[in-house]
């Protein structure tokens, strides 16, 4: 047994987990056996991490937990993609997969992106804080750090090209003990080492002056001006639409079930909709990336979900705060991006996230104690906020490896597979940089097989549908005159017109569910949470897609909104 393996054994024994078996496979550590609970499962994983192996594969069974490794049921089966052939197949329609697809279209390659859900960004990319972090809180020397730094600096240009909103409110990491201000010079040194531009240490008085409603208990703050805010869903859609404009094909409801291989090379990707031929495969499957790696025969990491709950506050709170407010994390061991209170693009404030280790990868349920944590820990950072300002809350799961770092590399065991995995926070902030590197790795592989050239028709600018609220009164009236539906408001809280909803339904990547319309056009996002506009949006969806209202779903197949028609037609129906 190697020395490293022994070290791991000792670490496990120290954690009272001596019965866990450790073996080495394909350069990775594999844990086997059974433990009593999830806590032990995690402890074993962490005890095994940090050695000179490719990663930790945690195959431990957990007493009383049966289904935690299972993926949810497969989407409907057909053969519509059978024998299609692509130079690159990207697995996963989160921000990472979409950004990679878009970057790949700079070359003359045929790209397909496969996403198992009925819309993009249904998972982590649609369930996060939307912050473009500064690098202050990430560890030097990690991939997280490198990509965060580069990603942050790329965002301005990407936002301009793709036409999504981005602002740089800057963030406060507040202190709550007087002695902590003594850390100022040390923090300044760290900031300069990490390339945090404009870093400052603010006195208590200065914080009060800049942010009068800030936390009562603050004793000063670190200030990182280069912290940005985006709508992560919009970023994902923007990348995807531009990728499509440049030739990428996106297949929704398409789940990768396995691979066909010829020695160390993947030849085809098996999905619920048939088998596609593929030159290079990119694993951007988020919380399921380890499953994809396993199916491909290159298993060297296990992902464990870390759930984060987020609350959204009423727009009327927006004017009470200008900066992102958080607490300073003085220990580098902290496993979360602290979060806090984030002023969002549309005037709402976001509070959270929490961080809890849970077995369920797509377990988006929320619990009372999680919301309580947000109230106690985050809401207090702005003294004007109250529990009653919360209009909604939801959860996401971070795709964590036991090494707690991104995995962005060409597979050592499968010659045409690239991993973009373990992309927990700050994955959104890092996405533009990750995409560029993964594109180059794919190009590296492709270059031996084909005549790789730049795509002469590549257009970095995304085509945008009209946005009436951004137009001058005159321009808006011109638009309404041509298409009166732009003048018909449907969502009362967010003032979204019917025209914008129709545009979302007929966008390059069509919004086909109530939630997709909500995410694209903001209808239903406001304080009444769709109470008023839901009936109208259901009708518009049915009309525009030629379906029955009883077929319109909230977010995924099976989530029907209307079960039946009543015995008599409603008057809004007969009036039409």
């Amino acid at each position: 047994m190697s020395a490293e393996l022994n070290t791991v054994k000792k670490a496990l024994a120290a954690a009272n987990l001596a019965e866990v078996e450790v073996i080495e496979k394909q350069g990775a550590l594999v844990l086997e056996g059974q433990v009593k609970n999830w806590q032990q499962y995690l402890e074993a994983g962490y005890a095994a991490a940090g050695q000179d192996f490719r990663g930790v594969v945690n195959d431990l069974e957990v007493e009383g937990l049966e289904n935690f490794k299972q993926q949810c049921e497969s989407s409907p089966e057909d053969f519509s993609l059978e024998r299609y052939s692509f130079d690159v197949v990207v697995i996963g329609g989160g921000v990472i997969g979409c950004a990679i697809a878009r970057e790949l279209t700079r070359y003359n390659v045929k790209v397909a992106l496969l996403e198992k859900e009925s819309d993009l960004a249904r998972h982590t990319s649609g369930r996060n804080n939307g912050m473009i972090h500064s690098t202050m809180a990430v560890k030097l020397g990690t991939k997280k750090y490198l990509y965060n730094l580069r990603g942050n600096r790329m965002y301005r240009k990407v936002a301009e090209e793709l036409g999504f909103d981005l602002k740089w409110p800057g963030s406060f990491a507040m202190l709550d003990k007087n002695w902590q201000l003594l850390l100022g010079p040390y923090a300044r040194r760290i900031a300069s080492k990490k390339g945090v531009q404009g870093f400052r240490v603010l006195s208590k008085g200065k914080v009060k002056e800049l942010e009068p409603n800030a936390w009562e208990e603050q004793t000063g703050s670190f200030y990182m001006p280069e912290t940005g805010v985006v709508d992560p869903y919009q970023v994902t859609i923007a990348y995807a639409e531009n990728a499509m404009q440049n030739g990428t094909t996106i297949y929704l409801n398409t789940k990768v079930l396995g691979f066909e291989k010829d020695n160390n090379r993947i030849t085809a990707v098996r999905t619920n909709r048939g088998t596609l031929q593929a030159g290079v495969i990119i694993n951007a499957a988020g919380i399921w990336a380890d499953h994809v790696a396993e199916m491909a025969g290159d298993r060297f990491y296990t992902i464990h979900p870390r759930k984060g709950v987020i609350a959204i506050l009423d727009k009327k709170t927006g004017s009470s705060q200008s900066y992102i407010l958080g607490r300073a994390q003085l220990s580098s061991e902290a496993k979360t991006k602290g979060g806090g209170l984030v002023p969002l693009l549309d005037g709402n404030i976001l509070a959270g996230p929490t961080a809890d280790e849970v077995p369920g990868r797509e377990d988006y349920s929320t619990e009372t104690h999680e919301l309580q944590h947000i109230l106690d820990h985050h809401l207090v950072l702005n003294k004007t906020l109250q529990q009653s300002d919360i209009i909604t809350y939801f959860a996401g799961t971070r795709a964590c490896t036991f090494e707690e770092d991104f995995i962005i590399e060409i597979s050592e065991y499968v010659e045409n597979l690239v991993h973009a995995a373990g992309i927990q926070s700050p994955g959104l902030a890092s996405a533009p940089a990750i995409a560029v590197d993964v594109r180059d790795m794919a190009a590296e592989i492709l270059k031996n097989k084909m005549d790789l050239k730049e795509n002469p028709d590549f257009n970095p600018k995304r085509k945008l549908a009209p946005q009436p609220v951004r137009l001058s009164l005159k321009e808006r009236n011109c638009l309404i005159e041509n298409r009166p539906s732009y003048g018909q408001i449907v969502c009362r809280c967010e003032l979204v017109s019917e025209g914008e909803i129709v545009d979302a339904i007929h966008a390059p990547l069509p919004a086909r569910t109530l939630d997709a319309v909500k995410r694209r056009a903001r209808a239903g996002m406001g304080r009444c949470q769709g109470g008023f506009c839901t009936p109208a949006v259901i009708n518009i969806l049915a009309r525009e897609t030629g379906r029955q209202v009883t077929e319109i779903c909230k977010h995924e197949p099976g989530s029907v909104l209307i079960t039946d028609r009543t015995r008599r037609k409603g008057c809004e129906q007969s009036a039409h």
Binding site: S365, L473, S485, Y486, R527, P535, C553, D564, R565, Q573
Partner: protein, 413 residues
């Protein structure tokens, strides 16, 4: 475009305000964001509207029809499908940016403004229900809209959380449409809606009402598959171990209404935290001169008749304001013992004033007393008083030296 009085909202409050303002000689513009006037009454197809005003039991649409006809008779301008995009104060009144599909976006200046926006429903998130977010969670009003206006059934097996009036009315409506209502769950120890609705909508249809019980969790990821319900203790917190699963495909919420005044936010007017609406005097004038509030936007009413009454008052006063100006009355109405709230919160001396109030709990045998500087102005006995049932009293004109009036309920021992 210019007008004397602009009324936002063509529900019963706005319709009454528009008619009254026109009657008193003002030029009136009535705007509503929906395609037809009538407000929420359009979807309230049950009867019981108008018992005070007409001494008849009308349905919501019938009640609204009479007001719509009255407005038509004045020939005033009505704009449907019209939204208020922006609102600000101007030198001689208010300037609004309106938009509809026909006229596009356009500015209107008005001397007086009546905000009759109605109310909206509290959502599942505002009562902190946990679990995932499957389809099948609706507010009772949305379900009422789907069934009565569109002919769509939101589900087949329904649990209703909260015993507000709309919830109880929907329990009956769903039953009549062939859905099964598993029960109405109320966290408090008595229903929050009217007694007549409990009898006519639940008891008559054998729909169980569970008091001191709440929904703690929603199950299902695609469509609701059930809810967990639990008994609650005196602190209204779920009692450990009392949770049971009720299978259902739909959860309806009838957990309260909130006056809707979002468009007034830019005007910085005084609000009453207890009603959720602006502070008004008996003319329904807010703290901003020339801005009036009425109907459910001022406070949530239990009877449409009172809503219309407040609309008439606001409309008449708005027309008057255009000619004579004026500002909010300065006499303060203090809600004292056992009162949830009282509206109006201010009074103009020298004019009769109707005061509407709710008790903060159910009390048997009480006396309402209104007094100013220790002098009793009014007294009335009630055998039983319940928070869902709003009460009305009329105060005689106050003399000019009165600075505040205190209203309270005294228990008879």
């Amino acid at each position: 475009m210019h007008t004397d009085v602009l009324v936002i909202g063509a529900g019963p409050a706005g319709l009454a305000a528009a008619a009254a303002a026109a009657e008193h000689g003002a030029e009136v513009l009535l705007v509503d964001r929906e395609s037809r006037p009538g407000g929420i009454l359009k979807q309230c197809i049950h009867d019981g509207f108008g018992v005070i005003r007409y001494e008849e039991k009308l349905t919501g649409p019938e009640y609204a029809y009479r007001d719509i006809e009255a407005v038509r008779a004045y020939g005033l301008r009505v704009l449907n499908n019209t939204f208020v995009l922006d609102l600000k104060q101007s030198v001689d009144g208010f300037s609004l940016l309106l938009q509809n599909p026909i006229d596009g976006a356009f500015r209107v200046d008005t001397k007086a403004l009546v905000a009759a926006n109605g109310c909206r429903e509290r959502t599942s998130r505002q009562v902190f229900i946990h679990g995932d977010r499957p389809a099948g969670i609706y507010s009772a009003g949305t379900a009422q809209n789907l069934i009565n206006l569109h002919g769509y059934l939101p589900g087949r097996k329904v649990v209703i959380l909260g015993s507000g009036d709309i919830g109880m009315i929907m329990a009956r409506r769903l039953t009549l449409e062939g859905a099964e209502v598993a029960g109405v769950y109320e966290i408090k120890d008595e229903p929050s809606g009217l007694t007549r609705n409990r009898v006519q909508c639940l008891d008559d249809y054998n729909i169980p009402l569970y008091l001191n019980t709440t929904v703690t969790r929603v199950h299902g990821t695609k469509r609701v598959t059930g809810v967990s319900v639990a008994a609650v203790g005196a602190d209204l917190k779920p009692l450990p171990g009392s949770e049971t699963l009720v299978p259902c495909d739909t959860l309806l919420l009838s957990v309260g209404l909130i006056p809707e005044n979002d468009i007034l936010e830019p005007l910085a007017l005084e609000f009453d935290a207890k009603t959720g609406g602006p502070v008004v005097d008996q003319r329904m004038m807010t703290s901003v001169p020339g801005l009036f509030s009425c109907g459910n936007a001022t406070h949530v009413n239990d009877m449409v008749d009172y809503v219309s009454e407040s609309g008439f008052n606001a409309g008449r006063a708005a027309a008057n304001y255009c000619q004579h100006g004026g500002s909010q009355g300065s006499v303060e109405v203090v809600s004292g013992n056992n009162l949830l709230y009282a509206v109006p919160q201010r009074l103009v001396s020298g004019e009769e004033a109707a005061i509407y109030f709710r008790s903060d709990k159910t009390i048997d045998r009480v006396i309402l007393v209104a007094q100013a500087a220790g002098k009793e102005l009014f007294r009335e006995k009630y055998l039983r008083i319940r928070p869902p049932e709003m009460q009305k009293i009329v105060l005689q004109p106050l003399s000019p030296e009165v600075e505040s009036v205190e209203i309270g309920l005294e228990e008879v021992t």
